[in-house]
């Protein structure tokens, strides 16, 4: 009798398990790596807005620890299982195009038209999410990676003016060193972003873009000149032990008053605020010398894989992503400027308002440039980062010869493989 009851219980339990496994809740799922702090708050605010605007649609999210590369790994497995998410956090440019070329992304022309994408996003940004005349992603936010953040108290203490030229920058660095302050905080793996300002100074925005298109040889004398300017101005100002720091540890040097300046993406604004600093009072920013009329940006976008189950849910979330409401909700907490140029600036703190104003001005009068990350083939971008770091560790002519030859050899190999994209033709 007892044995029969046990068997019956087991059978019922098994049936319940099977049934619950086969009943799945249909929802538009978004994969992302906004996992903590302001980024997580931004995501939650964005999804709350989506649920408010589309109360009949279920939206869920799944955090993927890591960044673009881990997302790619997970998506690769999902594609093989034919079970991709409805949306995912995507890089733009080369990375997004690789998914398009692999036949993995759904064109979103109808959503692009509905949100008036051609009007609300800058031309440069459009080239990075539209391929062969079709739109594949909705840019969400813009981070600027060409601004130098500075400790206002240190600048006031030593009566320093904000440098606008390379010579002024070197003078400021000299004064700081003489007073026992490290001029320029830096971190390992982040030296490439420092190299962009000298690159633009020597080559101009056209030369910067030519590098991204694979049209500029690394052995061009101008590229050498850019490296030498980088070494002479920035590397000589780097703080002691920079190569032993991560980006957050380097930011701490600014917070603790050990270093005066720090060039990193404006995500550090949220980091400084969380550490108790007040934007505009404790810290400010200025464009890196040579970038007064240019801004280099990094952008997150949303893209929709093919063969996802809830395509209507994906469309709804994409529409919110392009809207003023959606972008306001997201960027207010993210610490970035909305990619949608029509988002009113009231949501920004003083630093981001200044960034917003600069983006608006440069969009009209100058050039908005994407991070080389979005333009170069991934292998060359990664190698460029390593080689810039190697030069920064030992900025000699001999090392520079090796760096330029290595990069040029790689460029030649990639040209043979037809790996570069002519972004101006997009």
């Amino acid at each position: 009798m007892y044995r029969n009851k046990r068997a019956l219980f087991g059978l019922v339990a098994a049936l319940v398990l099977v049934m619950s496994a086969s009943v799945s809740i249909q929802a538009a799922e978004m994969w992302h790596y906004w996992l903590s702090g302001g980024e997580k708050e931004a995501l939650d605010a964005f999804l709350d807005k989506a649920r408010e605007l589309y109360p009949n649609v279920e939206f869920t999210e799944r955090g993927i620890p890591g960044s673009t590369s881990e997302m790619r790994r997970q998506l690769g497995a999902a594609f093989m299982a034919n079970d991709p998410p409805e949306l995912y956090q995507s890089a733009i440019g080369y990375d997004m195009k690789s998914y398009v070329d692999a036949g993995r992304l759904e064109p979103i022309d109808d959503i692009w038209e509905a949100v008036n994408g051609d009007e609300i996003f800058s031309e440069g940004l459009q080239r990075m999410v539209k391929f062969d005349g079709h739109a594949y992603g909705i840019p969400l936010n813009t981070h600027v990676i060409s601004h130098i953040f500075y400790n206002k108290h240190i600048f006031e203490k030593y009566d320093l003016d904000i440098p606008t030229t390379w010579d002024e920058f070197k003078e400021v660095s000299k004064t700081l060193r003489e007073n026992g302050i490290e001029p320029f905080a830096a971190a390992t793996s982040w030296t490439l972003t420092h190299f962009y300002a000298p690159l633009i100074t020597v080559l101009g925005p056209e030369g910067y873009l030519a590098l991204g298109n694979g049209e500029l040889a690394f052995t061009d004398p101008k590229v050498r000149e850019a490296f030498e300017l980088y070494g002479d101005a920035f590397v000589s100002s780097y703080m002691f032990g920079w190569s032993g720091y991560g980006w957050a540890e380097a930011a701490n040097e600014l917070l603790q008053g050990n270093a005066a300046m720090y060039l990193n993406g404006d995500w550090v604004v949220a980091y400084f605020e969380q550490a108790g600093w007040t934007p505009g009072e404790d810290f400010g920013f200025f464009p890196a010398p040579g970038t007064e009329d240019a801004i280099i940006i990094q952008v997150d976008a949303l893209a929709a894989p093919k063969n996802a189950k809830d395509t209507e849910g994906a469309k709804a979330l994409m529409t919110v992503a392009g809207s003023i409401d959606g972008q306001s909700a997201f960027n207010k907490h993210k610490g970035s400027v909305a990619a949608n140029l029509a988002v009113p600036p009231e949501i920004y703190n003083p630093i981001l308002l200044e960034t917003y104003n600069r983006i608006q001005r440069v969009n009209e009068e100058g050039t908005i440039l994407p991070n080389q990350l979005f333009m170069l083939p991934p292998s060359l971008y990664q190698e460029l980062g390593r080689q810039v770091e190697m030069y920064a560790l030992n900025p000699t002519d001999k090392v520079l010869d090796g760096v330029l030859n290595t990069l040029e050899n790689m460029r030649q190999d990639l040209l043979k493989e037809n790996a570069f994209v002519k972004w101006q033709d997009m």
Partner: protein, 296 residues
């Protein structure tokens, strides 16, 4: 006869699931990696392009590969001798029947239970150039001129990571050697003492030979770890600065998942497999000989 057949069938049935699992989750992926190493694939496209030996040619022509290989060789030499020796020394000390020996054993073994990412987080702080414990100590004792950029100086970064690994892994060797020391027949040691042998003579002539099985296990495990080293290196330096701390596993990770060259990454994996097999062969030979001796 019937019983023997029934026994064989029973054993076969019990072995079926683990063997099948091994085939599906180990053999098949290894086979797929080998096949992929002859292809070019970005990780997301539906198809891969056959390129023959191109990935291997590209690999062996890349100076980065040889840097990584030489770093793995350094890790091999370090892993075989340093944690092993330190573990043995600690085991000899603890085995002196000192008070609180189990507490010492626990203290030295605890680091081995910590996940490598957490070990890296702790040692990153210790190595921090301004406020890290090591440099701060040197500054406080008047040795400011001797402070180092432990993880940022290409000439010493690998050795800094090895130091953190020493702290982390010595516990394993310690436990193996303590176990080995306690299995040495007391009569052998007493006989040596009667013959007038001092400690070092006893150690050389009695203990070391008796500790051979423990030594083989420790060295084999250390050798395999040296070829597979990834977590600590990636968490502390990502193979940098430059490529100075690069090992084959970090190169494989970067090539596959940051540069999206899965075929080239698979070629690296195959090379790593072959090298690791060479290291593990003496251990497998020793273990199978031991099993044969037990059987007969």
């Amino acid at each position: 006869m019937k019983l023997a057949t029934e026994k064989r069938l029973t054993f076969s049935l019990f072995l079926l699931i683990p063997v099948l699992s091994f085939a599906i989750f180990v053999i098949y992926p290894v086979y797929q990696s080998i096949v992929l190493s002859f292809h070019k694939w970005d990780g997301i496209s539906p198809t891969a392009t056959y390129v023959g030996l191109q990935n291997y040619q590209k690999l062996f022509a890349n100076p980065r590969f040889w840097t990584a290989l030489s770093n793995n060789a350094k890790w091999l030499v370090f892993s075989l001798f340093i944690p092993t020796s330190v573990g043995l020394l600690l085991a000899l000390l603890i085995n002196q029947k000192i008070k609180g020996e189990s507490i010492y054993q626990t203290i030295f073994f605890i680091p081995y239970t910590i996940t490598p990412v957490a070990v890296a987080a702790v040692w990153r702080w210790l190595f921090e150039p301004r406020n890290g414990l090591f440099n701060r100590f040197l500054i406080e004792v008047g040795l400011r001129d001797h402070i180092k950029i432990w993880l940022g100086d290409p000439t010493i970064a690998t050795y800094s990571i090895m130091l953190s690994s020493l702290w982390w892994t010595t516990g394993f060797a310690l436990v193996m050697y303590i176990s080995g020391l306690r299995e040495i027949p007391v009569e052998l040691l007493e006989a040596a003492e009667i013959d007038g042998a001092g400690f070092f003579r006893k150690f050389r002539s009695v203990m070391l030979p008796q500790l051979l099985p423990s030594t083989i296990v420790v060295m084999a495990m250390s050798g395999i770890s040296a070829m597979r080293v990834f977590d600590l290196v990636y968490s502390l330096t990502r193979g940098g600065p430059g490529y100075s701390t690069e090992v084959l596993a970090t190169m494989m990770f970067d090539v596959s998942f940051n540069r999206f060259e899965m075929g080239l990454g698979s070629a690296l994996a195959v090379v790593l497999l072959v090298l690791s097999a060479v290291i593990i062969l003496p251990y497998i030979y020793h273990t199978s000989r031991s099993l044969e001796e037990i059987r007969y």
